[in-house]
Each structure stands twice: as C-alpha cells, then as structure tokens.
Amino acid sequence: MTSTARPEEVHPSAAPEFPMSRAAACPFDPPPALKAEQEQGPLRKVRLWDGTTPWLVTRYAEQRTLLADPRISADVTRPGYPSPAPLRGTSFSFILMDDPEHARQRRMVTAPFTIRRVEALRPAVQKIVDGLIDEMLSGPARTDLVQAFALPVPSLVICELLGVPYGDHDFFQVNSKTLISRSAPPEARAAAHADLIGYLDELMGDKIAGPADDLLSGLGTRVEAGELSRREAAEMGVLLLIAGHETTANMIALGTLALLEHPDQLALLRDTGDAKVVSGAVEELLRYLNITHGGRRRVALEDIEIAGEVIRAGEGIIVPNDIGNRDPEVFPDPDRLDLRRDARRHVAFGFGVHQCVGQPLARMELQVVYSTLYRRIPTLRLDTALEQLSFKHDGSVYGVHELPVAW
C-alpha cells in the first residue's frame, strides 16, 4: 500500500475530473482513470463540471453500505447535491426524493413489477422477440440491430405496460435521448422534458376519461382520488417510459456486441436450454457491462464515518456502480466476462431504497432476448470493424449508437 495524501487534503484543482472516459480500445471496461482511483482507496475526491469536489465511492462494500444508509439524501435540490448537469430540464420524480414521500410514490408503481406479474408477461415478451426476429430473417441478411431489435423490444413492452401508443415511439425516443444527454444544451433538455410531460399529461387525461388495464390508468385513478397531482403522475410516466427504454435497449445491443467478441461465452447461451444458465448469464452481463455509468448521486444529511474518513453533512457523494462491479475483492478476475460465475450480488441496478423499480422486468426481457436471438440466428456476426462503432460516451446510459450485424 502506498501512502497518499488524504483525499480531503487534495486541492480541488488536483482532484481528477468526473465522469471519466472509457478507453476506446476497451469499450466494455470502466474508465482506466476510475480504476486507478479504486486502487488508491475506497473514498476519493473528484471534481465536477461546476468545480465542486464531491466524494467518489470506489469499492463495492462501501458503495452498498452508503447506498443503504438513511443518512444520505437523493434530493437533487439540496445544497451540496452533486448534480451531473445544470438543473434545467431535470425530471423531478420520486427517484430524486427521500422517504417517506419517495416510498409513498414508489409503492404506487411497484404492482406491475412483482415477480408473478412479470412472469405472466414472459410469453408476450417471447412473442415480441420472435416476431422481431422473424422480420429480421425475412429481409436482407444484414441490419442495424439497434433499430431492428434492441430498441423495439423494450419499447413495445413498456408501451404495453404503461398504456402508451407504440405509434408515438419516434416522438418519445427522440425526446428521451435529448433529455438524458449530457452534451445537449440545458435549454434543449428543458424543452424535451416539457414536451414529454405535455404528452404524458394529455395521455393521463385520456386514461382518466376512459381507464384501461395499464399503469397510467392506475396512476389516473390515484390522481382522481387526490393521492397524487397530475404533474406528479406525468413525471412518473416520463420516468418509467425513459427508464424502460434506454437501459434495456442498450443492454441488448452492447451485450450482443460483448458476446460476439467472446464467442465461447456466446456459445454457452446459444446451446443451453437451462433457464438457470440463462439467468446466471444475464446477471454476469449486467455486472460486466454497467450501462449506467454516471454514478448514483447523493448528499450526506449528517456526518458519516466510513472507511477511515468522515463525510461531512452537506457533502456530495457519487457511487459509480461500474467500478463497484469490478471490485476484485468481490468478483475475482473482475474484467473477465464469465457467464458461469455467480454475479447475482452486482449493483448494476443500484442498491438501497432507490434500486431500479423495473429490474424484474428488465431481467426477464434480457433472459428472453439472450436465450432466443443467438439460437435463432446462430450465424449472427458483426458487420463492421469494432473500431468503427461509435459509443455513447456523453449520455447517462452507455451503449452503441448503431450495431451493424449480418448473418
């Protein structure tokens, strides 16, 4: 162990900038600079776009401990909150609130995501996946997998679940892309957010007038009962719509790319009929790929002693799950994609009370996708050089912009 200056003694200008960039040569790995910080210690200081220097939590154990600690807040409006970008155009849904209001609102949307309800959806998801593959196979033997498959799968599923007309997908995909882009100007993000809220608000009006068996209708009933304002309901709708799209779509495309680059691992998925093998593989891909790479953001409500440091009340905390999932203490040889390892403890969906609400659905979708795509198209291959691909370095969700494939 080398002796280094205590992070809090580091002058702000000396703290490394966050977020850091992934290396072009290793598109699946967390940024090398982030790895270097992890090697230095569990708690580091970093510098953000606005010059502030929050804590960076680099190791798995401290990440889980802090994310489950009630003395931290997810309230984006609190002073000291390490915001990833100027606040304009930010969606203020329950993911940026603390309990008890967070718990109250979150419990309004958990019903469709129980294991039983998600399992009941599996045949419908299988049908969607098979239908899209049929379409791919009936055309020319090359396509962009993102547009033809990775995006439509979660899009069709979340639209069905929420009760959003799939025909509008161009509109909300374009806007959600802008909303989560770090490089989009704040005005553009604010406009995209306003458009999405307006769209959801109008849809909510329709659902209140004529409820159906979907999540937005359920929220409409809550609005009518006075449990939720219409604005809050629209914010929830935007959150679920975006979260349901971007994350799973990127996991499908980036996961496929990773598997094509690791043919022995792909063969495991292609050749198995065992649901356990498939679910284990999905957990490992979630651990390995970490498509949310901006880190969970929090602010300390009280002084918190951890790993020999004291995080003071009002100081920002960033928990990047990508590096937590590559902690060698927890996952031996962490940079190796090994679909047979037990990766279930990963923090790809976060940890603590804010852990992703849609994760049972995401897991099921990925299980269906990965167990079907390579079995039905065993000759699937990348139709370009890896170096030609362009990766989403500037958004809060990482992935590939396009994935040209052939078979």
Partner: protein, 63 residues
C-alpha cells in the same frame, strides 16, 4: 434458522422471491411476505442469498 422481514423497509424488488420462492412471496403491490420464518436448514444458502441481495436490508437471518 430464524428469518425476520421488515415490511416497512421493503421496496418491492422481489429479489428475495427469486432467491427463495418457498420462503418469500410478494403481495399485490410487491411488498414481501414471509412464508416461513423458520425454514429447514437445507434452505440456508438461498435464504442467505435473499438477505444479501435485498436492496433495502429488510431481511435478517439468525442461525
């Protein structure tokens, strides 16, 4: 083995059900329900897994 579950903490992730479906269930809103507070010892691994993956630290296991 003695298992306790704090339903007030539960955030309805269902991960306990995935890990040990004969010990945990979910109500219609997703809140976990403890089916068996004293599961047989051959269930220990799965129940410990459930406690380890529970994001809300709502599950406690005692030997």
């Amino acid at each position: 083995m003695k298992v306790t579950l704090d339903q007030d903490k539960c955030v309805a992730s269902g991960q306990c059900v995935v890990a040990a479906a004969d010990v945990f269930d979910q109500d219609d809103d997703g809140i976990a329900v403890l089916l068996d507070p004293a599961p047989p010892s051959d269930r220990a691994d799965d129940v410990e897994q459930a406690a380890a993956v529970c994001p809300a630290l709502a599950i406690t296991v005692q030997d």
